[in-house]
């Protein structure tokens, strides 16, 4: 079995357009300001934490493939390019075969709603330019188009714990020598419909958007000082396995932590949705970080932020190891551990 390392990290979040902005927000420990998200038919807007405008127009937006894309693609591409940046010095010497695993829960909701709205109004005038951007696979495809030599690409849909399924898939591709490096990107975009739906399921939650990316590799020379140590089984929720049981099963598989090990959990501040995960990790002895408390419910993007935050702490030497806990809303609980090699 190959060893798998992290070669780069990327993030776009309500804190800004890179990992440094995410780190600064987490270090500050204060929830970010909340913005209004107008909701058609309601006098009061919904609440959201939106990605701020970038300080300058990103260069990648000049690429012809991105002309008509929606924010989810912009976030995914920005995070992917940041995570892949350290590879570029190496790939100049030897072209690397890349894989891309895009992970989404809500997906391309902006153009889906817009196109469906146009369809309901008059299908004869619904824009054909928008429709291709409604498919789940669009952001992954655009990321692949912007990078050289992408040979494998999957888009995974699921609850946020599916991000670690994406990491496991990347590790499998690397272990089988099908790729030299693999980007795993989790992304979501803001829309009132997502906030509206979330309100039915988790009323206190504040929807957020953005992306996070890990670039994995099997060559230690490409690594940035982080190794993937373990990913638990996918503890699927069924009629016989509750979220609380799944969270506990995931915790048990990860075993005892090292001294000073960081926990990046998925607690968001809503008592009921948090209960299962809070109970599973109630006795965690070390430091912990909860990105969703500060940044909002970013769904798959939030799962990616947890992983990025965990790996960033290792890269900076702040922790000897880091555990990521993803207790998804309606599919599964999966955990992972990253260590310094």
């Amino acid at each position: 079995m190959s060893r798998i390392f992290v070669a780069g990290l990327g993030a776009v979040s309500p804190a800004g357009w890179n990992v440094a902005a995410l780190r600064a927000a987490l270090d500050q420990g204060e929830p970010l300001p909340v913005q209004s998200l107008p909701r058609p038919g309601w006098p009061q807007p919904l609440r959201a934490r939106l990605v701020p405008n970038p300080p300058a127009r990103p260069d990648f937006l000049a690429h012809p493939r991105l002309r008509r894309t929606s924010p989810i693609t912009h976030y995914a591409v920005a995070a992917a390019l940041e995570a892949a940046a350290p590879l570029r010095q190496h790939s100049a010497a030897k072209p690397l075969r890349l894989g891309v695993v895009g992970c989404l829960q809500s997906g391309c909701v902006q153009y889906s709603c817009r196109f469906y709205d146009e369809t309901l109004a008059n299908p004869a005038t619904a824009s054909p330019l928008i429709f291709p951007e409604t498919v789940y696979a669009a952001p992954t495809s655009h990321v692949a188009a912007l990078l050289d030599n992408v040979v494998l690409a999957y888009s995974l849909v699921g609850d946020p714990a599916a991000f670690l399924q994406g990491v496991a898939l990347a590790a499998q591709w690397l272990s089988e020598n099908r790729v030299d490096a693999c980007l795993v990107v989790g992304a979501e975009e803001p829309h009132w419909l997502t906030a509206d739906a979330l309100r039915h399921l988790d009323r206190p939650a504040i929807v957020a958007a953005g992306a996070g990316a890990l670039c994995l590799c099997s060559d230690p020379a490409l690594a940035i000082g982080i190794e993937l140590a373990a990913i638990t089984d996918a503890h699927t929720l069924t009629a016989r396995l509750s979220r609380a049981q799944a969270a506990l099963a995931m915790r048990r598989q990860l075993g005892a932590p090292q001294s000073g090990e960081l926990l990046a959990d998925g607690l968001g501040g809503s008592p009921r949705p948090d209960a299962a995960e809070a109970a599973a990790w109630g006795d965690w002895p070390g430091p912990r970080v909860s990105p969703k408390r500060l940044l909002g419910e970013g769904l798959m993007a939030a799962a990616a932020w947890q992983c990025v935050a965990a790996c960033d702490a290792l890269a900076l030497g702040r922790s000897p190891a880091a555990t990521v806990s993803l207790v998804g809303s309606n599919q599964q609980a999966i955990g992972a551990r990253f260590v310094r090699p």
Partner: protein, 421 residues
């Protein structure tokens, strides 16, 4: 553990298929579909599930489903309330999974049923519920009835969980959404899981229901045929949409042999890659198609000369078919003259995320029955076709067959199946 992966006791075990469930506009179940595909019957009609009066094209291949509370709906562990929450896509998925499960002879109390991977491909999941959510949210913004249920059940991973609850098994769920290659990728990924030793058995397939958004999308692109869907015909003018689901039970040969299972066929090869040419258009010469067919052959340890039939992606759009024809012609070389090809989308339309899975089942049917699935109403071959198009029912001596699937976004996939004697 998902990582580190186990070291398989048997490196790259052989993988066989012991159950297959399918539902399309041709009917429900293996028998009805096999008869329809064998004769090339076309199953299109005016769309009845949503208003198409203002669409340019008004026909598609709709499946007939039994009511979820009718006696014809399979008896499973799902409660009445759970069944009522299934939309058309979820119903078709469940029907196909139940048939495959029954055919395989797997039991919920068997060892391994607690860790059974379920790998599904879909482009839209429960989009019909999503559409209903949106219409109510816009049309009746103060009314919330059913909205929370729709918000949960439109998600494909929740529909997948219904399969587990229905069959009484459980395991990791993977939902792949590589557009129209999703179904083939799901089967290929399940094959990877078994070959890498992560499981002994897996359920895999694809499903998608006809929906207003997607139908309107393809119509807006003018990708739908206003006449008749005729893949690889020089006069083709677009695709036709359909709906359906197919699920396979895959297991290692060792596992199947131990329990004396009836084997429907062997999955021997899988290739997948991504075409970065354009979001919706393939490379004109089908470079990625060529690459995935070569990959699949390499993994199957066969050459193009060994392939007896290709079930093509063959949507019926001018760009797809010319690209695929160019790739097949180059890949097959001198063998192309004797390599029968057809697209069963001429019978049941393009099933999007279900297409690759249903077409995998068609390949198994052809291998089992030793016939070639014809395309009716085929007239003049595209000049790029260096191979014969099957256009009338015929028997054949089939040993190894290949199925192609391509999607928006550029993911291409190829699966290779071998007859089991």
């Amino acid at each position: 553990m998902l990582f580190p992966l186990p070291n398989p006791a048997n490196a790259h075990p052989r993988v066989v298929i012991t159950g297959a469930g399918v539902i399309t506009a041709l009917g429900r179940g293996w028998q009805a579909n096999a008869e329809g595909f064998r004769t090339g019957r076309r199953a299109f009609r005016t769309v009845s599930h949503f208003d198409v009066s203002r669409q340019r094209v008004k026909t598609a291949a709709e499946a007939d489903l039994p009511g979820v509370l009718s006696p014809a709906f399979p008896a499973t562990s799902l409660t009445r309330r759970q069944r009522q929450r299934l939309d058309r896509a979820g119903q078709m998925l469940l029907l196909a999974a139940h048939e495959a499960w029954q055919q395989s002879g797997w039991q919920a109390d068997e060892p391994g049923a607690d860790n059974l991977p379920l790998v599904l491909g879909t482009t839209a999941g429960g989009m019909l519920l999503g559409e209903a959510y949106y219409r109510q949210a816009i049309g009746q913004p103060a009314h919330h009835r059913q909205q929370a249920v729709r918000a949960v059940y439109y998600q494909p991973q929740v529909q997948a969980r219904m399969v587990f609850d229905a069959l009484g098994c459980r395991g990791p769920i993977t939902v792949i959404s590589n557009a129209c290659a999703s179904g083939a990728n799901a089967i290929g990924h399940a094959w990877d899981l078994l070959r890498s030793g992560q499981a002994e058995c897996a359920l895999a397939g694809g499903y998608d229901a006809l929906g207003e958004l997607v139908f309107s999308g393809f119509d807006s692109l003018q990708a739908l045929s206003p006449t008749v869907c005729r893949p690889f015909d020089a006069h083709r003018d677009g695709l036709a949409l359909g709906e359906g689901a197919a699920v396979l039970t895959l297991e290692t040969l060792h596992h199947a042999s131990q329990r004396h299972a009836t084997i429907l066929g062997e999955l021997i090869g899988y290739g997948t890659s991504i075409d970065q040419h354009h979001l919706t258009q393939p490379h004109p010469q089908g470079q990625t198609t060529l690459a995935v067919m070569r990959q699949a052959c390499a993994s199957a340890a066969v050459t193009p000369d060994d392939i007896d039939y290709i079930n093509a992606h063959g949507t019926g759009t001018p760009l797809n078919d010319s690209s695929e024809a160019a790739a097949i012609s180059e890949w097959a070389g001198a063998h192309a003259d004797a390599l029968p090809v057809s697209s069963t989308k001429a019978s049941i339309g393009h099933l999007l995320g279900a297409a690759g899975a249903v077409e995998a089942v068609v390949c198994l049917m052809a291998l089992r029955g030793q016939w070639l699935p014809p395309q009716e109403l085929f007239d003049t071959p595209d000049p790029a076709c260096q191979f014969p198009i099957v256009h009338q029912p015929q028997e054949a001596n089939l040993n190894v067959v290949l199925s192609n699937s391509f999607g928006f976004g550029g993911v291409n996939a190829a699966l290779i199946f071998r007859r089991w004697l």
